[in-house]
Symmetry: C2
Subunit: 166 residues, 2 copies
């Protein structure tokens, strides 16, 4: 579908994020199942539940736009999920795998931060105040998840992994 207007671009971007979030929802159980830190497992499971709410927000916006949520395959998220699966398949010391999975999950979060940032700005500029607020709400959740993963890595997981490898 050619991008002839900013409305086309907004729908394209929202469909891309919608597919990305649904791919992530499918992938989270395997990722959370592969970690050994209980705190990390809990953080990933909480984010999985949060993602279900984020998907519903997107569906609300599609309704406002009179557009369908399906139609895009998000290659970016596909690649990011492949990376996390590769790490799990390669295996290693459980504590080091936890640190590696945090890194892979943060790459997924950053994809979403970039995507929601763009979609929020497009909605603002189109005067879609309610949609912009919904997207901003999700953007903040993604940033908080990313910050939580950084804290878990720096304060807990990485130290254990350092000891495991010695």
């Amino acid at each position: 579908m050619p991008l002839n207007s900013m409305q086309d671009l907004m729908i394209h971007k929202l469909q891309d994020i919608y597919d990305a979030e649904n791919q992530a929802l499918q992938a989270y159980p395997q990722i959370a199942g592969a970690v050994s830190s209980q705190e990390l497992k809990q953080a990933l499971q909480t984010h999985q539940q949060e993602t279900q709410g984020q998907v519903q927000r997107l569906e609300q916006i599609f309704q406002q736009l009179g557009a369908q949520p399906g139609g895009q395959t998000c290659n970016g998220m596909q690649g990011l999920i492949q990376e996390s699966q590769k790490i799990i398949q390669e295996g290693g010391a459980p504590e080091v795998l936890d640190a590696a999975i945090i890194a892979a999950a943060q790459a997924m979060e950053h994809y979403e931060i970039a995507g929601y940032g763009t979609a929020r700005t497009l909605a603002q500029q189109a005067g879609m105040t309610e949609a912009a607020q919904l997207l901003e709400q999700t953007l903040e959740e993604e940033k908080q998840t990313d910050a939580l993963l950084t804290r878990l890595a720096e304060q807990n997981v990485n130290q254990k992994a350092q000891q495991a490898g010695q």
Copy 2:
């Protein structure tokens, strides 16, 4: 290669970023060639030159670690580049394509921000002060490029695209 130590993870992560940057270097000319805003083209070309310096920094770190830079294929960046190529192939109004390409380039930047953030923290925690500083330097450049793309979108490209689509 199983991840048995944090050194394994650091090398894995650096090889992943190294491949991502090299893929990006291959892709930038096509992406910059597809935009119509001169300011945006200039920003992408400047970042391409900057990326060459970032690749050299990574090679310096590999030397310090006594490790090879090759060996990983970055599926994440592969997917992100496929997305930008899909946008270029779909076509549309040139101003709207510019806005879409900014979004795709920001997704690539965010992948790198996540990757360098992880690598910098791993280097700090391993007491590799010089490597941590080199990675921090690149991380700041990636964040500045992302911020520049946001400014270009908000102050220039998106308005033109909005007018084009009316």
